[in-house]
Symmetry: C2
Subunit: 378 residues, 2 copies
Amino acid sequence: MTWGLDNLPYGVFSRHEGETPRVGVRYGEHVMDLAGALHDEVFATGSLNAFMARGASAWRDTRAVIRNKLSTDPAAVAPHLIPLEHITLHLPIEVADYVDFYCSIEHASNLGKMFRPDEEPLKPNWRHLPVGYHGRAGTVVVSGTPIVRPSGQRGAGVFGPSARLDIEAELGFVVGTPTALGTRAGRFEDHVFGVTLVNDWSARDIQAWEYVPLGPFLGKSFATSISPWITPLAALSEARVPGREQVPEPLDYLRRREPWGLEVTLEVTLNGEVISRPPYRDMYWTPDQMLAHMTVNGASLRTGDLYASGTVSGAEPGRCGSLIELTWNGAEPLKLPDGSARTFLEDGDTVTITASAPGPGGTVISLGEVSGTVVPAR
Amino acid sequence: MTWGLDNLPYGVFSRHEGETPRVGVRYGEHVMDLAGALHDEVFATGSLNAFMARGASAWRDTRAVIRNKLSTDPAAVAPHLIPLEHITLHLPIEVADYVDFYCSIEHASNLGKMFRPDEEPLKPNWRHLPVGYHGRAGTVVVSGTPIVRPSGQRGAGVFGPSARLDIEAELGFVVGTPTALGTRAGRFEDHVFGVTLVNDWSARDIQAWEYVPLGPFLGKSFATSISPWITPLAALSEARVPGREQVPEPLDYLRRREPWGLEVTLEVTLNGEVISRPPYRDMYWTPDQMLAHMTVNGASLRTGDLYASGTVSGAEPGRCGSLIELTWNGAEPLKLPDGSARTFLEDGDTVTITASAPGPGGTVISLGEVSGTVVPAR
């Protein structure tokens, strides 16, 4: 089963209005209340951060205990299993810093071709380092949060609601173990607690006007949605693959020590219709490389740091993670079953991103979903 | 006196190792312990955030109470006044999101001339909106924190310690009152608690290689220093001036309702020698405009958000806030009294930025200082 003992993602839930949210793991169609089942108040603190701060060895031990309890002592666990329909899911982490990368060579090339048709699609630095920038941590929201269409400047003297509201389907990585200022991160698996799905909503018209020379700002900062379930790295052990070949070979600090490419396939639906299946395994830069790069200058990590892959786009048609690519900058609208067409998002549109990965013995690990509905500008 | 009743900046201090830091106001050469003097535990929480979250009316009331106690009942206050030499100052706020703007037309023009000599120095968007981007909140550090020289990529296949380590002298604005996602901020003075000094350390060689197309990242994220004292807006009432004329007139959401230009003069010293006196009043975009812009897309504010002006540079020689400008990209080294010359910072260099503003009746309001010493790369 996709939500069985080999998955067990972590989330934060409450049973009724006013309750301090608690940490649980999803098991089937239930959530297991960890503060109750494990008698540990670290799980009654409103977010995963206090537990994540305990470090990788505590993550392993806790997972082993949970698996053991669920498989050997179901009667003792039963009182702590709550049906999903009785709970509300919350933002699972307190986000410290949020960084967004740009790791798909197809995505970066596609955007280069559209915006700079007379130049090489990739900038000279692109194959040498994972390009990234800081986003707004305070507007990371949990799946289900309505997305208010942003207003802003779309050109000189032009102001109004964005007319080119887009999605970016990404994987996000959640840091558990911090580092001290002036030092570099160690091994990926010692720092990164788990994986989440990310929709980095993007107002292309606002972004295009503002982003020179300091990068995206208001075109992205109005909302970034993440899935409520954080999949621990241990649940993705069968999904690990070597990263894609890199030419030129990266500098030593970016050299891959372990396979941290991931066989994760995303699926993007617009109002219930599948519009794309982005393949994460085709990403050029892997998450261990992003972590090494982000800290090579001595920048510290904090528990709750979130970094995302950038839009996941494959080479084949229908495998891109943004509408600007799927419609080639609006020139080739998507046709929807209700007879309408889309270039960019309309008010009322709902976008849902799901993802799955191979688990042990031919099973499937679900990474849950991140969903959001566009509501009109205020 | 510069640290008298008209100043009273807020800071966070401890008296001995292991004590939870407490909020105080500076008065002369003492700090007044507010938790003790006002019998309010909001000041015993390790940062200013809980107090700032109470909102502008609480800030006014608290300032009135403090001024009244200090001026009318010195005997009652005396036990709560601690000499500065007996305390350690800490980072005064928990930084939520950190945004850095680019508000000096001289600074933006100078950098444009250096880096894009064949183009118009200002990008087309510059006079229409305050250009900004998100920085790394987790590496904002208090004055006095050593600055480890960052290492990183300086070009294709080139790795090592930055050879072009620079400063950026800025003013920072600290948000107290939050907003909800999907709404815009109201009046500047209802949201912004106070002002701090900022040194946005910058590795120009790392930045130049990485910043296309998503903006500065590792060239800035290794450290940003702020002063330990947050000057409340009320202490700057005599410093308020109309902002500089803007052509073209900005869009309505950026229109200035009140004068929030500030007559604040910064002073930058390198190893004790004054190398520049940047004039904040000459900035093109004012802090109320930055706040309106940052939230026009519905991005929420959190208590502890910090946003900075960008490098403060005036038009006259010797009034720029960065070495890259003061030495014209290294072509005109600064001569120091010890006979040495500087283009960019060397290990062991100490940079200190101070600032002052006019107070009531010809007095001077000091904004304190932000200082840091460069230590060798690890």
